[in-house]
Amino acid sequence: MAELDLADVPATSHPLDVVNVWGEDEPRPCLSVEDALANAPDRDGDFFRVPPGGAS
């Protein structure tokens, strides 16, 4: 592909010709804390729990 001269060709990041899609900023129901934590490998109360430390 490097051999092709495409200096004037625009990039395609997305196959459809759509631009911004707006939605109303309204509160909607969302996952409960219990549901959000249901698949957690480990938890501490309402938090995900991970091992301590390690390099930042």
Binding site: M1, L6, P10, P15, L16, L31, A36, N39, P51
Partner: protein, 468 residues
């Protein structure tokens, strides 16, 4: 006695409407078939109990999130994961009364062309269990062709619905990008992934597409799709059919595949279509390298979420956080996702971004323009779907590039966001050959009409010979 090998979804609906069978009897017939043949075919990663009701049963590829039903995407890193919400397509199926038979096998994260990359072992082709069913959605395709589901949903990034449908003798649609919601689907490459139907007939395929298609507020890349017209009749008068030379005469195409597709093109002419040649000079040669930069680049970003913190597998072999991330990914991901994460991360890295990812995005424009030019003169394009019939298990696992070549002919139109329909068009050495119909964006109804007419003219028997 319900013959699940022969029963179409349309046929099942007639039996249910006429009360000739009950919903419970129908569901039980598929569970019996699964009990009988799935030990050999291994289509399912999870089988469901009958949820009750009178709707038609359906199987879902295991990348489709289902509330309360395990969803693994064929990966160890999602072993034991049980979604707490339904994907939009699962919710739409339920709203239509469809009942889930189970979750079907897939290459890990839908990365592959044979299901051999599944962490849970491969599926087998009902036409010859020594051969692959194709992939990544080989479990769905094999389930439909083996009579273990009347129809199924798959997902397609570079051919994962069309290619297994070809290898198993099914009708499979990759819809126009944006017509089906990706909300709740395990992401692979977000600018390419599309969910679509796998069925025994074009009419079933069209109907299932009508169930899942449409704009979804939860996926802002979706758009309104034209209303689906169930195909009827077989007159193709005036239809302009283009035969792209590079996708029909590629050296990788087997002679038996080439001649079956050639015969189908003759039939299209007899049905009234006007057939002409066209050219997509750069789409085939550059489609593969373009896909294998863009898809891994997007995958490397999407798969970063598997960190052992919020859901899925966590390596037990570490007391240290950073080591936990590393070991979780090392132990949780198989070879193919690791390979693509490495390639994708490299292609996106500073200093290489423009030369690899940026250039690939420009090639994507070139491919889309070539197709748009062809659609100035033609309504549909016809090519083989897969260059070969189903290959033997293990035949391509040692060479990733040989495996990638399975999708040589399906990838170009995927890059352009175009819909593609696989229609079985005959046998070669006793194995199904698939023909690919490609149309402009939102042309699903034309593909259904063409595919339906062709299906009737060909008279393909979708029941595998060894099971008749």
């Amino acid at each position: 006695m319900i013959d699940t090998l022969r029963l179409t979804a349309e046929g099942a609906k007639k039996l249910l409407d006429a009360k000739e069978v009950s919903g419970a009897e129908l569901f039980a017939a598929y569970l019996d078939a699964i009990g009988e043949r799935d030990p050999e075919l291994h289509c399912y990663l999870h089988v469901c109990a009958d949820p009750g009701g009178e709707g038609i049963p359906i199987a879902l590829k295991d990348v489709i999130g289902t509330k309360g039903i395990p969803t693994t995407a064929g990966s160890r890193i999602l072993e034991g994961y049980v979604p707490v919400y339904d994907s939009t397509v699962a919710a739409r199926c339920k709203a239509h009364g469809l009942r889930f038979l189970g979750k079907t096998n897939t290459d890990e994260f839908a990365m592959g062309s044979s299901t051999e990359n599944s962490a849970y072992g491969p599926s087998h082709n009902p036409w010859d269990p020594a051969r692959v069913p194709g992939g990544s959605g080989g479990g769905s395709a094999a389930a439909v062709s083996g009579g273990l589901a009347p129809w199924a949903l798959g997902s397609d990034t570079g051919g994962s619905i069309k290619q297994p449908s070809a290898l198993c003798g099914n009708v499979g649609l990759r819809p126009t990008y944006g017509t089906v919601s990706r909300y709740g689907i395990v992401a692979f490459a977000s600018s390419l992934d599309q969910v679509g139907p796998v069925a025994k007939t074009v009419r079933d395929c069209a109907f299932l597409y009508s169930v899942i298609a449409g704009r979804d507020p939860c996926d802002s890349t979706t758009v309104d799709a034209p209303e689906v017209v169930l195909p009827d009749g077989d007159d193709l008068k005036g239809l302009r059919v283009g035969i792209p030379t590079e996708l029909n005469e590629h050296e990788a195409i087997e002679p038996g595949v080439r001649s079956a597709v050639r015969r189908a093109i003759d039939l299209l002419q007899q049905l009234g279509a006007e057939v002409g040649e066209c050219s997509l000079p750069r789409s085939v040669d550059f489609g593969m390298p373009c896909y294998y930069l863009i898809a891994p680049a997007e995958a490397s970003s999407n798969l970063a979420r598997y960190d052992g913190v919020r859901y899925g597998f966590r390596s037990p072999h570490s007391d240290d956080r950073l080591a936990m991330y590393k070991r979780t990914r090392d132990e949780g991901f198989g070879d193919e996702p690791k390979r693509r994460i490495l390639v994708g991360t490299y292609a996106l890295s500073a200093g290489y971004y423009d030369a690899y990812y940026g250039q690939a995005q420009k090639v994507r424009t070139v491919i889309a323009r070539e197709h748009a030019d062809a659609f100035e003169r033609f309504d549909v394009l016809v090519t083989p779907t897969s260059p070969t019939v189903a290959f033997e298990l293990g035949g391509r696992t040692a060479d990733p590039l040989a495996m990638y070549a399975s999708d040589l002919l399906t990838i170009p139109s995927c890059m352009a966001g175009l819909p593609g329909l696989n229609v079985p068009c005959g046998l070669s050495d006793g194995l199904p050959v698939g023909l690919q119909l490609i149309g402009p964006q939102f042309s699903e109804n034309v593909l259904f009409q063409t595919g339906h007419a062709l299906e009737r003219a060909i008279g393909f028997d979708f029941v595998p010979e060894r099971l008749r």
